[in-house]
């Protein structure tokens, strides 16, 4: 089948303004959007720029806006989006070139929630691991699946309006550590989340949940953070 691929193009060294270019290419229904982009770059226009790495939905490099919705290009098939496909960079982040956006603001917000394990207590007597029950581990299992692709954060209207808002991905990371029974910095993280640019900016729009390629229930996780602030319960 022939697929019409309309791609957002912008080269700051040449273009004064962004534009779209349309390519007609042969594709199978089971081809991934990433395959189509590779085909354009390899055989039609080598100047096309986009990020990709593992190509198997794990690294989170190729999150793009496809037909108006955020997807991972490597996990989205032609049959999922039809034969007229528009590919654009993620919204809310500055475009560096073509489909590549500046992820710096995204990762700056991510760093604010202390995205690492904090435990100042001495190791257990045997000097080995800090063990955890399966139930305690299950409490934050959902939010360990995040691959930091930014599909959630860049689908959030609150983030579009204000990039100081921590965003869903940072909140998911905060959830992962706050509800970890071995971690000891829940209080510090909740203080950070309670600022004006924290969870208060989430208006339960659910775009993040729909955009997540890992099917994380992000809005539910943010709701649990709000309840933790109100009740103080971390179980």
């Amino acid at each position: 089948m022939e697929v019409t691929l309309k791609i957002f193009r912008y080269n700051p060294e040449v273009d004064k303004k962004w534009h779209y270019e349309t390519y007609s290419i042969e594709a199978e229904e089971t081809d991934r959007i990433l395959d189509l982009l590779e085909k354009v770059k390899g055989h039609v226009d080598g100047t096309l720029s986009f990020r990709r790495s593992c190509a198997h939905g794990v690294c989170g490099s190729d999150a793009l806006r496809i037909n108006g919705r955020n997807y991972l290009a490597c996990k989205t098939l032609v049959r999922d989006v039809g034969h007229k496909i528009t590919v654009e960079p993620l919204l809310g982040l500055k475009v560096i070139k073509d489909l590549i956006v500046d992820m710096e603001p995204f990762f700056n917000n991510y760093k604010k929630v202390l995205p690492y394990f904090i435990n100042e207590s001495p190791l257990p007597a045997d000097g080995k691991e800090r063990l955890q029950s399966p139930e305690d581990r299950a409490r934050f299992d959902e939010t360990t699946k995040c691959i930091l692709c930014a599909a959630c954060t860049t689908s959030c209207p609150s983030y579009w309006g204000n990039e100081s808002y921590l965003g869903p991905a940072a909140l998911v990371t905060a959830h992962r550590f706050i509800f970890d029974s071995r971690d000891e910095a829940a209080s510090q993280r909740l203080e950070i989340l309670s600022e004006t640019n924290g969870v208060a900016r989430c208006h339960t729009i659910f775009n993040c949940t729909m955009a997540c390629p890992r099917d994380i229930k992000i809005t539910k996780a943010i709701g649990e953070l709000k309840m933790a602030m109100v009740t103080g319960k971390l179980d």
Binding site: R130, L131, Q132, S133, E135, D136, S158, G161, N162, E163, S164, Y165, S181, R182, A186, S187, L190, E191, I192, L193, S194, E195, T196, N197, G198, A200, R201, H203, K226, A228, M229, V230, T231, G232, K233, L234, D235
Partner: protein, 140 residues
């Protein structure tokens, strides 16, 4: 293996600040609005049952109480009760709405100074408007 111990943070260590107080306030006031609407409807139904009023009168008594036309307005305690309920309703609705506007402004204005101005301005506006509303309701 570590035994599961309950983890509960005290109020001072869970980031329980103005934002979170207003988050709870907004949800509670939404529930309170439903409560007032229900009370207004039940009150309207009771009055209508006693006077054989039609639906239009019931809705008018429930949501736009005019005590001069309310058959039970002759009882002073009912007049005061209705006024207090209407004042409470106005305060809750305005608090809910004003905080909603502030939330939207906070979404789009990230500057500390801008946010402070909006917050103070809106609080001042709410105080003035509520004072006028209370006066009009009480004096009617």
């Amino acid at each position: 293996m570590e035994t599961a111990k309950p983890r509960t943070l005290p109020l001072s260590k869970r980031g329980f600040n103005f934002e979170m107080i207003m988050w709870i306030f907004t949800r509670l006031t939404a529930l309170a609005m439903y409560g007032f609407i229900l009370a207004g409807l039940i009150g309207g139904l009771i009055v209508s049952a006693q006077t054989g009023a039609n639906l239009a009168d019931i809705l008018r008594w429930a949501f736009l109480p005019n005590l001069n036309e309310n058959p039970l307005g002759a009882y002073i305690w009912i007049t005061i009760l209705v006024k207090l309920m209407v004042i409470a309703f106005v305060l809750i609705v305005s608090g809910h709405g004003v905080h909603g506007v502030l939330e939207i402004l906070d979404d789009y204005f990230a500057g500390v100074v801008a946010r402070r101005w909006f917050r103070n301005g809106i609080i001042a506006y709410a105080l003035v408007v509520n004072a006028i509303a209370i006066y009009v309701i009480w004096a009617s």
